[in-house]
């Protein structure tokens, strides 16, 4: 299935406003989806017999920095039987207060591989995945402060009496 057909299908099944932008210069081509419609779009791509994206290869979260003021979550989907791939991009505003986390719905009920990937994104970039059954830190200690892959991250000075800066 070609990228245009996937876009058409998504517009038909999840609504016209499900696609806010497309990007064909990247590999694989990327569809930008508003966070509110992510679940219905993902569900459609997962279940529809023409797309059948059964393999969530990768889930990436990234921070565009305070000047851009956005954070993104990128889903790389692959369909084993049809051998086609697509990337979904969800953009959320950066949190205003330091402790707050931007929220994105969890897709872990569709693809179980998202279970750990979302935990990792939560841990390193600091995105709250709504509906995730077990959102704990995965790579860093549970009492670590901050999310290291944010562009404005400052590491804490001491962790349990150990100097962090080297």
């Amino acid at each position: 299935m070609q990228f245009d057909n996937i876009c058409e299908l998504l517009k038909r099944e999840a609504g016209q406003e499900a696609i806010t932008a497309t990007d064909t210069t990247s590999t694989p081509p990327t569809i930008t989806i508003p966070p509110a419609l992510l679940l219905s779009a993902a569900d459609c791509l997962y279940r529809h017999p023409d797309t059948y994206f059964d393999f969530l290869s990768c889930l990436t979260a990234l921070d565009n920095g305070p000047s851009a003021g956005t954070m993104e979550v990128i889903y790389h989907l692959y369909s084993i039987p049809f051998d086609h791939s697509v990337a979904l991009r969800v953009e959320v505003p950066r949190p205003a207060a330091p402790g707050e986390l931007p929220a994105v719905p969890s897709v872990s009920h569709l693809w179980k591989s998202a279970l750990w990937h979302e935990r990792e994104a939560f841990d390193l970039v600091g995105i709250h995945f709504e509906g995730h059954p077990d959102l704990r830190r995965i790579l860093l200690p549970s009492d670590w402060e901050g999310h290291p892959l944010r562009k404005d991250y400052d590491e804490q000075e001491y962790y349990h009496g150990i100097e962090v800066k080297y």
Binding site: C58, W111, S113, S142
Partner: protein
């Protein structure tokens, strides 16, 4: 007075291994919380398993990772692409060449020079990658024997792996962390005589492989310990994003070397072994080991074909420079790219976001196969015995350097 050496159980002792997901209050009557790890021979690295058992039966497993976390992504987002390659080696330190190949391939695709790489360079890349795949599978099979109580296969396979490490050391001077495959080329051409030596090595290896198969795969104790243990169904494997030999052992003929047709793999002739459940259920621990053994044979086939080409029409010439295409300044256009390659453990993916202005990626994410393969552990080990848990963990063949990155 009680004997001070005697262990007396105290509820507070659990707090010594925090953070735990479960506390004493979660346990039902008769259940027990056991920590396995952080260090265990079946995990190549540090991994702690929080296990809840009812007698000898496991009711829940929670893997705790991050003990080896070295911030690969943070490093990669702070330095130019070519300087990241030594860090890529350190993720899966048992198969560094394969990881380098994937990374270099991704950057070359972003620069648009992926199809200009000379054929000799590509063949050398595949040759060293497959040698490294052999070495990685040898560790997997050998230490798997160790996990379930057999010492001999470990020694034999380490002996054979040593030859591969020496060959690779000869090419680039390092035993495990090579920095050999560069963006746009190679660090150096193969040393003179390498092809002949490798051919001799293949000749040496085949009888050793047959010996090892007899010792491991057909061994009655081995079969009893691994067949019908840790069964991973195909649907569950796909849903969890499991890849590599683990997915193939569950019966799916899916290999990125064939699916994505990257590098020169389309020109090579090799099979993709899949699990058949010959000794038990499809997708059990025996199948996973068997797939790895079969893959070793396929790797030898690939190596021999590469050698044929490298000694034949792609023979080294005096004016051949493997570094001819290495760019002075790596500055890709503004784009996102997700590249993946078939590592010994499964699909290794790199996600890059280039902003088009600098030679440092805005985001570099490593999707490591071991991380994803490990996430299925609690699903497949529920209901099995504690001793089988070690067999299951060993059969995942993970390297914690890649799980934690």
């Amino acid at each position: 007075m009680a004997n001070p050496i005697q262990y007396t159980y105290d509820k507070r002792h659990l707090n010594n291994s925090e953070p735990n997901k479960f506390t004493e209050g979660h346990l039902q009557d008769g259940e027990m919380l056991i920590n396995i790890g952080p260090q265990h021979p079946s995990t190549h690295g540090v991994l702690r398993l929080e296990v809840i058992t009812d007698g000898e039966i496991i009711t829940e497993v929670v893997p705790h990772l991050g003990y080896l976390h070295r911030c690969f992504e943070k490093h990669a987002e702070n330095m130019p692409y070519n300087q990241t390659i030594p860090f890529v080696d350190r993720m899966d330190y048992l198969a560094a060449m394969n990881s380098e190949h994937a990374f270099a391939m991704g950057v070359e695709q972003m620069l648009g020079i992926a199809d200009k790489i000379p054929a000799r360079v590509e063949y050398i890349r595949v040759l060293v990658s497959e040698l490294n795949r052999l070495a990685s599978h040898f560790v997997a099979i050998g230490t798997y024997g160790l996990d379930i109580g057999a010492f001999t296969p470990f020694l034999w396979l380490m002996r054979d792996r040593e030859h591969i490490l020496r060959l690779l050391e000869w090419t680039c001077g390092a035993r495990m962390l090579y920095n050999y495959i560069w963006v746009g080329g190679l660090f150096y051409d193969l040393p003179v005589g390498f092809e002949e030596r490798t051919r001799e090595f293949c000749q040496y290896l085949l009888p050793k492989m047959a010996e090892m198969e007899k010792l491991v795969i057909e061994n009655k104790i081995f079969v009893e310990r691994t067949a019908n243990v840790g069964v991973l169904s195909r649907d569950l494997a796909i849903n969890y994003g499991v890849s590599g030999p683990m997915l193939r052992a569950s019966g799916l003929r899916y290999d990125l070397r064939r699916v994505d047709k990257y590098s020169v793999y389309p020109e090579l002739d090799f099979d993709i072994p899949v699990g058949e459940g010959a000794m038990g259920t499809l997708g059990d621990c025996w199948d996973r080991t068997w797939v790895r053994v079969r893959e070793c044979h396929e790797s030898i086939r690939i190596i021999r074909q590469c050698l044929d080409r490298l000694q034949g029409d792609l023979k080294r010439t005096r004016d051949f420079d493997p570094r001819a295409l290495v760019p002075k300044k790596i500055r890709p256009k503004k784009q996102d790219l997700y590249v993946r390659a078939e590592n010994p453990k499964g699909e290794l993916g790199f996600y890059f976001r280039a902003d088009g202005k600098s030679d440092i990626p805005l985001r570099c994410k490593a999707r490591s196969p071991c991380f994803v393969n490990l996430s299925v552990l609690s699903e497949i080990s529920r209901g099995s015995m504690v001793a089988d848990l070690i067999a299951i963990v060993g059969s995942l063949d993970m390297v914690l350097g890649e799980v934690d990155r």
